[in-house]
Each structure stands twice: as structure tokens, then as C-alpha cells.
């Protein structure tokens, strides 16, 4: 049936021409961008962003094409003659679907090919980055493209033209950003998060493509997005299957049961959710984080009466952070142990060394565990994520100055839309094993087991994954992003050597040896943790976290900031920066009013 339906498709200009124009437009536009962006050395992420924007017009054209092609037998009064043959509906729908699915398949292939070419020209060699954007384009162009095809097919059999296009307009409204005001307003009015209802529809298309992308993370392609796209495909496929009226009852029941099982599994997968970045005013976004802090959190400060000597951390980072942490405590006879642990992580269980469950209080970012006697070690199981410092199989930024693990004592680390780094933490020994499909990087040493296990002593155990690479030229351990390729200056051993030269130039007397530190360059951490204008995010005994994206004269400033932070201590340094910034703000406000 494919050949006949393909002929039918090509010969119907009203159906074929829009599809052809879409393919030509996407190809032409991306080829033009490929040339233009290559000339101007624009990072691939921008090219990918422009490519993803085509999903929306593709959705509209695919719906139209599908509706009109499936409507042909009806419109031509040929439906009865065609459908009177055994299993004709199934064969006709199958043939027509296969033909129209060529369009999203071609869209995917063209877009993927041009992205690969662009990346190759940009000098990006990170295989995981290629895999990421190819799978994402497959999700949004091919799988996402099947959804409007199925909707069009269903509507053509159930509704007349006017009703179909009216319903399609409603669907497009719900899918698009235009309807964001609905869940936004309702959520703000009721304090109930209505965004998940919107996401059931909106995640068919890539999110936030009008915003700037975090290069280490990319555009969202998390597991639950696959779940919701597959959910719609299976659900619509199930309805189409019912329309096919298969003659064999056995096949009908078996296929129905299988598809229903897939629908349920996909939806459960979507409901399970996971860590993601949401830009804007969504309930999970960074701005809603500040909303949470303003409304619900009572900041506390308390120095801990105890220390943790050793952390044994088993982390599972697929959908979100799932942690199983065992801590050896310095004091065994306290009635309670206070910790700071980010409020996004839900504590599931706290137990002692014998596995006995212990009572605990969770209040915002704080956790208090009660003990009734001697306690030499403590096990805490928790899971969740921060919308700013994300942790999923797509990417993860967990700097040790952020309480993604229980930090003894109470710390007030709240700041509008990002967090203040927690400084002057005691050193402890860490044994970390991460279960994740991605490679992780850390300032800790890689464990003997390799494969995402780390160990060592530190006051800031930092874990990152995403589009990063590690370089150790000139004895430096430098971890930087790979998504920019050769378009941006490489953050590697050379960069560290240059930074070292600047530090040597500006430091008077005591010099800083950068080879003792792990240098992590991360724009994503800079977005989440308060930092200086020159890009110094954190500095401790074994780690410097920087943001090199500032470019220009910032490198000189960065070298000076490192010297100053080393001299004063990082806590003093960052407090001073914050104080100066607050003063400046107050002065500006006073001038204004």
C-alpha cells in the first residue's frame, strides 16, 4: 500500500506542496544559517536553537498534511468502496501514515545532518554532544512529528473540516507559549502547581527555545519528555487502531492490550518527572525558587556541634538525584544532629548504623535528626533536584558549596534566584559512587573502580556532568565545556597556564600554584551560585570554580580576584563583594528616588 499511497500523496498538490515547502524552507534556512554562523563563528548551541524553532511550524504543516491526506477517501466519496475490503482501514491508514511519516523522518535527517556538519566545522569532537543533539532532534522532529500526523488522521475520520481546524487551533494554542499565562495565573492565584497539566501538552515541542541555553546542559531532552511524547503517540495510535476495526478479535485484543500497557507505562514515566531547567515563571523555575524562599523559608544559622569525618555517598542520577548517604560522626552522644540540605530533596528515611529508623524534622533547607543514644554513623536516603543546580541524566552541576549532601550545621544560603556559596566547610573524607549514563567529573580523585566513582578529602566535593571535558596539560586539572568547540577559547591546561602567568604577574610575594587545584569552568554554576563580576565562583583548598564566558579583560580581573580570595579567605572575599554590590544598589536607588 505504501507505493499507492505515496503516489496519492504526491499527486494531490494541496497535500504535497505544503509538505514540500516545509522541507525546502527548513533545509534552505538551516543551510543559510550554517554558512552565516560559520562565517561569524557563532556557537553551535545557537544553530541548534534555530533548528529547534522549526518544530512549531512543522507541527502545523504535519497536522494539515495528515488531515487532508486521510480526508481524501471521505472527501472523494471513496470511503465505502475502499473500506469494504478486509482490513482495508488498517492497511490504508498504515500506508498513509507511513507516507506522511516520511516528512518528519526527512526533517530529522536533514536537521541532524546539517547540525553534524556545523559541529564538525566548529571543531566539536565530544561524541556525547553529538549523541545528545541527534537523539533530541529525533525526539522532537521525528517522534514529535508523529503526533500531529496521528491527530490529523483521527480528526479526518471523526470531524468535518471546520471543526477539525478549530480543534487544531485550540491544540496549537495549548501547546504554544501563548497559553503560558493560564497555568501561570492559576498557579499564582491558588498556590497549586498547574504547570504539569500544561506540560502534558507543551512537552511535545522543545521548551524555552526563545531563551538563552545553558551550554553545558543543552535544551531539555530529559527522560520524562520522551515519556510524554511516547504517551501521546501510543494514545493516539490506540485510538487509530480502534478506528481500523481489525477483523480478528484476537489481534484486536492483543494489540489493544499491548498499546494500553505502553500508554500507562509512558504516563507513569512522565508523572515520575525529574530534574530539569525551566526558564521563566514556571513553578520549578529559578524565579519560583526565590518565590519559595520569600514565602516559606525561615533562614537559620547555627554552627554544628559535631563534624562528619567520612561520607559514603551512593548517588543515582538518572531522572533526578537519589542519594543514599552514610556519614561517620565525630560526636556520638548528641540528642540531635542539625544539617543543611536543600529543600528540593525529599528525605525518605534516616537510620542509625544498625538500620533502626530515626526521627527527623525537615523544615525548608534544614534537617534535624534525633538520636536516643549513641550514634556513630547515620544513613540518610533522599531524592529530588534543584531547578537551578540541576541533576539528571542529561547533565548535573552539584558544587560542594551547595547543600546537595547533608552539611553539618544550619546555613543561610538564600539569595534571589541563585544561592550564596556555603564557605569555610570542614574537610571530610568522601567516597562517592555515581550511577548515571553520563561521565562525571569531580575535584576528588577518580576511584579505583573508575566508572564515576570518586574519593578523597575535601571541603567542597563537587560533581559535574554534561558537555564537559577534562584536560591535564602542564600539570593542571581543568574541566571545561565542549559545546562551543573551536569557536571559543579552549578552557584547558593552556588556559590554566595563562591564568597562572597572570596570577604570578599580579601577586606580590606569595604565589598561588594553580596545579594544586582542580579548575572547573562552568557557566551553569555561575548562573546558580552568586559570583564576582570577573567570574570567580568558588575557591577552596583544592578547587577553583570559574566562569570563563565573560571573556575580554575579565581574565585579568579573575587572576586578581583569585589572589584576593586566597589572601582574605573566600568567605571574606565573597561577603565583601556582596556588601559592595548591595551598597551600590542602595546608592543607585537613592539617586533614582
Amino acid at each position: 500500500m505504501f507505493r499507492q499511497n505515496f503516489r496519492l500523496f504526491v499527486k494531490n498538490k494541496r497535500v504535497f506542496v505544503p509538505a514540500l515547502l516545509l522541507l525546502l524552507y527548513v533545509t534552505g534556512y538551516l543551510v543559510y544559517l550554517c554558512v552565516r554562523y560559520t562565517i561569524y563563528s557563532i556557537p553551535h548551541t545557537h544553530f541548534l536553537q534555530e533548528a529547534l524553532k522549526n518544530c512549531f511550524p512543522a507541527f502545523i504543516v504535519l497536522f494539515y498534511t495528515s488531515y487532508e491526506l486521510f480526508y481524501l477517501p471521505e472527501g472523494a466519496n471513496a470511503k465505502e468502496a475502499l473500506f469494504s475490503h478486509r482490513d482495508a482501514r488498517g492497511r490504508i491508514f498504515g500506508g498513509m501514515s507511513a507516507v506522511i511519516c516520511l516528512i518528519p523522518a526527512l526533517l530529522f535527517l536533514i536537521t541532524a545532518a546539517l547540525n553534524i556538519i556545523y559541529c564538525a566545522l566548529a571543531g566539536i569532537s565530544d561524541g556525547s554532544y553529538y549523541l545528545y543533539f541527534i537523539s533530541m532532534l529525533f525526539l522532537y522532529f521525528f517522534l514529535g512529528g508523529i503526533i500531529p500526523i496521528f491527530i490529523g488522521a483521527l480528526f479526518s475520520q471523526k470531524f468535518k473540516r471546520v471543526s477539525s481546524y478549530a480543534l487544531a487551533a485550540l491544540i496549537i494554542f495549548v501547546l504554544s507559549d501563548i497559553s503560558d499565562f493560564l497555568p501561570g495565573s492559576i498557579s499564582n492565584m491558588t498556590e497549586i502547581n498547574f504547570w504539569p497539566f500544561k506540560y502534558i501538552f507543551a512537552y511535545i515541542l522543545p521548551s524555552d527555545v526563545n531563551w538563552g541555553m545553558v551550554s553545558e546542559y543543552g535544551w531539555g531532552c530529559e527522560i520524562y519528555r520522551w515519556n510524554i511524547v511516547l504517551f501521546w503517540i501510543f494514545l493516539l495510535g490506540f485510538l487509530l487502531l480502534r478506528l481500523c476495526r481489525l477483523k480478528s478479535k484476537g489481534i484486536r485484543l492483543a494489540s489493544g492490550a499491548i498499546v494500553l500497557a505502553f500508554i500507562a507505562a509512558s504516563f507513569v514515566g512522565f508523572i515520575r518527572g525529574g530534574s530539569h531547567i525551566e526558564l521563566g515563571n514556571q513553578f520549578d523555575s529559578d524565579s519560583m525558587e526565590s518565590h519559595f524562599y520569600n514565602k516559606h523559608n525561615v533562614p537559620k544559622t547555627k554552627t554544628a556541634d559535631f563534624k562528619v569525618d567520612n561520607y559514603d555517598m551512593k548517588l543515582n542520577i538518572w531522572r533526578q538525584l537519589e542519594a543514599d548517604i552514610t556519614m561517620s560522626l565525630s560526636k556520638k552522644s548528641l540528642d540531635k544532629y542539625d544539617f543543611t540540605l536543600f529543600h528540593g530533596y525529599k528525605v525518605n528515611r534516616v537510620s542509625d548504623e544498625n538500620g533502626n529508623e530515626l526521627r527527623f524534622d525537615r523544615e525548608g533547607d534544614y534537617l534535624t535528626v534525633y538520636s536516643s543514644g549513641k550514634l556513630s554513623s547515620l544513613n540518610i536516603k533522599y531524592g529530588g533536584y534543584s531547578p537551578v543546580l540541576y541533576s539528571s541524566s542529561q547533565g548535573c552541576i552539584l558544587p560542594g558549596c551547595f547543600p546537595y549532601y547533608p552539611i553539618p550545621g544550619f546555613y543561610d544560603f538564600l539569595l534571589n534566584a541563585c544561592y550564596m556559596p556555603i564557605c569555610d566547610l570542614d574537610k571530610a573524607r568522601f567516597e562517592i559512587a555515581v550511577d548515571s549514563p553520563r561521565r562525571f567529573y569531580s575535584n576528588l580523585d577518580e576511584g579505583s573502580n573508575k566508572g564515576n566513582s570518586f574519593s578523597g578529602e575535601s571541603s567542597c566535593p563537587t560533581l559535574i556532568s554534561g558537555f564537559y571535558k577534562e584536560d591535564s596539560a602542564f600539570g593542571h586539572k581543568v574541566i571545561g565545556t565542549t559545546a562551543y568547540g573551536s569557536k571559543a577559547p579552549a578552557i584547558d591546561g593552556n588556559y590554566a597556564a595563562e591564568l597562572q602567568a597572570l596570577i604570578n604577574k599580579y601577586s606580590s610575594g606569595a604565589s598561588i600554584d594553580l596545579s594544586k587545584y582542580t579548575i572547573i569552568d562552568s557557566l551553569a554554576i555561575a548562573n546558580g551560585i552568586y559570583n564576582s563580576a570577573n567570574g570567580l565562583i568558588y575557591l577552596c583548598d583544592d578547587l577553583i570554580i570559574i566562569n570563563s564566558a565573560l571573556g575580554g579583560d575579565a581574565r585579568d580581573g579573575l587572576a586578581r580576584d583569585i589572589i584576593e580570595a586566597d589572601k582574605k579567605g573566600f568567605k571574606e572575599y565573597i561577603t565583601e563583594i556582596k556588601r559592595q554590590e548591595d551598597e551600590e544598589t542602595r546608592r543607585l536607588l537613592a539617586e533614582l528616588y
Partner: protein, 274 residues
């Protein structure tokens, strides 16, 4: 062989088939019935277009060809391409498709239009191409729903001669409300009314139903009629106006008895229970 037993089909508010049964061997059958009597519903049930509530249809695995009441084709394709579409749907092996299509088009006298776009064909030609798709693949059971609707007299004649050409070894059902069409070509007639089979027999047997039941009475003397009767027509004769009446009771002596009508009167007698 086609065996239909106790077929029931209801739509939301109405009963379309109410225990319809019949057993059809090879030959041409005329399915007669007024509009809304369930003819099309029954044909759709036979070819599996719609499901039925209860009863059974057995066709012994024979292939079914169907010409629906409203037949159209994809206008962008040529007639040959459209026939190819049908041939693939009917699972005719690819190697045989060309031969089959050509022979069917020849039967309906459309060979010279094979490469013409369907959109350029006249209404009669489209109807004939509908017949061609129904007989494509040599089905043993062929259902024609109102096949002569919209055809000019010449086309009707051609259709009748086509039926004679293809009838051997086949069960052909022609659904229509035009009694004269049935009389000419159908060996047997089935009358369906309100979803029930109210008569099955030959055209002669159907005509027999009206024997001795047709009367001409002068207009104005309707009061002399009793029992079940049906005024079929008004006739002027010798300057007087008469009513052509079918009645199951003897009519007043003043009326002139007719010897009995043909198949059409038989059809009406069956329908009106006269």
C-alpha cells in the same frame, strides 16, 4: 453461497435490521425495498463496513465486491492508478494486477479512459468505474447498491448486459427501489421492509402476489373499499376518472376488476400486506 441469519442492527434511535434472514445461491438477486427499509445497512453488514448487533453472515470465504450507493474516486489519480489502488487493497498479486485491471475496464467499456484523470471523467463513467472496481479480482459475491442511479438509459442497458456477462458462478445482489431494473435481470427478488425479509421468490412469484387484487374504481367511490387496500394511481379512461386500487377484499360490483398487475403490483402487495 451467502447465508444471512437473524441479522439485527440498531442505530442510536432506530432499528435498521430486525431479524433479517435469507439464503442465497448463485444468481442475480434484486433487493427491493422503500427508502430506509435497511437495504444499504444490510449490504454494509455483508461487506463488513459496519458491525451488526446479532445474527450471522456466512459467505464461505468468498471474496466480496461492493459498489456503494455513493461512489467516488481520488480525483488526482488516473483511472488505472485508482484501479491499482483497489487491486492492492484486494490483495491481487502484483503480477496479475495489470491483466485484471485491463479486463475489468474493458468490461465496463472504459479501456480508452485508463490514463485519464478520474477528475475528468463524467458521472456515468465514474459509476462504471465503480462497477469495474467491484468486479475487480473476480469476487464470487458482488453487491451493487443502487447501481443504475444517475445513469442514462443507454448506460442502464449497458449495465444490464454487463450483468449477463459476469453472472456465471456468482452471487450478485442488486439493491434498488426501481422495480423495472430488477424485473429485467434478476432471477430472484428479496423484499425488505423495516429491516425484515417479507418476500423471497422469483419475479413471477412476486407478480402472483397481486393476482386478482387489482381494481379500477370510479373516483368518489372509495367508500366501497374495505379490508387492506392501497390506491396506487389515478387513471383517466373514457372521459372518466378512475382509481387503480390494490385490495385484498373483493371490491363492490360497481368497480371494474383488472386481471392483475405485474411485478410492481406484487411488490406493493407485499409491502402493504395486501
Amino acid at each position: 453461497m451467502l447465508k444471512i441469519e437473524n441479522l439485527h442492527k440498531t442505530y442510536k434511535k432506530s432499528i435498521a435490521l430486525d431479524g433479517f434472514s435469507c439464503e442465497l445461491g448463485r444468481g442475480i438477486y434484486g433487493l427491493l425495498g422503500p427508502n430506509g427499509s435497511g437495504k444499504t445497512t444490510m449490504m454494509r453488514c455483508i461487506c463488513g463496513l459496519i458491525s451488526y448487533n446479532s445474527g450471522s453472515i456466512e459467505c464461505g470465504g468468498d471474496k466480496i465486491g461492493y459498489l456503494p450507493q455513493q461512489f467516488g474516486m481520488m480525483k488526482a489519480l488516473t483511472l488505472y492508478e485508482m484501479m491499482e489502488y483497489f487491486a492492492t487493497l484486494k490483495r491481487i498479486p502484483k503480477a496479475e494486477q495489470d491483466k485484471e485491471i485491463k479486463s475489468c475496464l474493458e468490461l465496463v467499456n472504459l479501456s480508452d479512459k485508463a490514463r485519464s484523470r478520474v477528475g475528468s471523467l463524467s458521472g456515468g463513467m465514474v459509476r462504471r468505474s465503480g462497477i469495474a472496481q467491484a468486479i475487480l479480482g473476480d469476487p464470487k459475491i458482488i453487491l451493487f447498491d443502487e447501481p443504475t442511479a444517475g445513469l442514462d438509459p443507454e448506460e442502464r442497458m449497458r449495465f444490464k448486459s454487463l450483468l449477463k456477462k459476469i453472472k456465471d458462478g456468482k452471487t450478485i445482489i442488486i439493491s434498488t427501489h426501481i422495480v423495472s431494473d430488477v424485473e429485467a435481470v434478476c432471477g430472484s427478488i428479496i423484499i425488505i421492509d423495516r429491516g425484515k425479509n417479507i418476500f423471497t421468490g422469483s419475479s413471477r412469484e412476486m407478480a402472483e402476489l397481486a393476482r386478482g387484487k387489482a381494481y379500477l374504481i370510479e373516483e368518489g367511490r372509495e367508500s366501497s373499499l374495505s379490508g387492506n387496500f392501497y390506491i396506487k394511481d389515478r387513471i383517466s379512461r373514457d372521459g372518466k376518472s378512475y382509481l387503480y386500487v390494490l385490495s385484498d377484499s373483493p371490491v363492490h360490483a360497481a368497480a371494474r376488476a383488472e386481471s392483475g398487475g405485474g411485478i410492481e403490483d406484487g411488490y406493493l402487495c407485499a409491502l402493504k400486506n395486501i
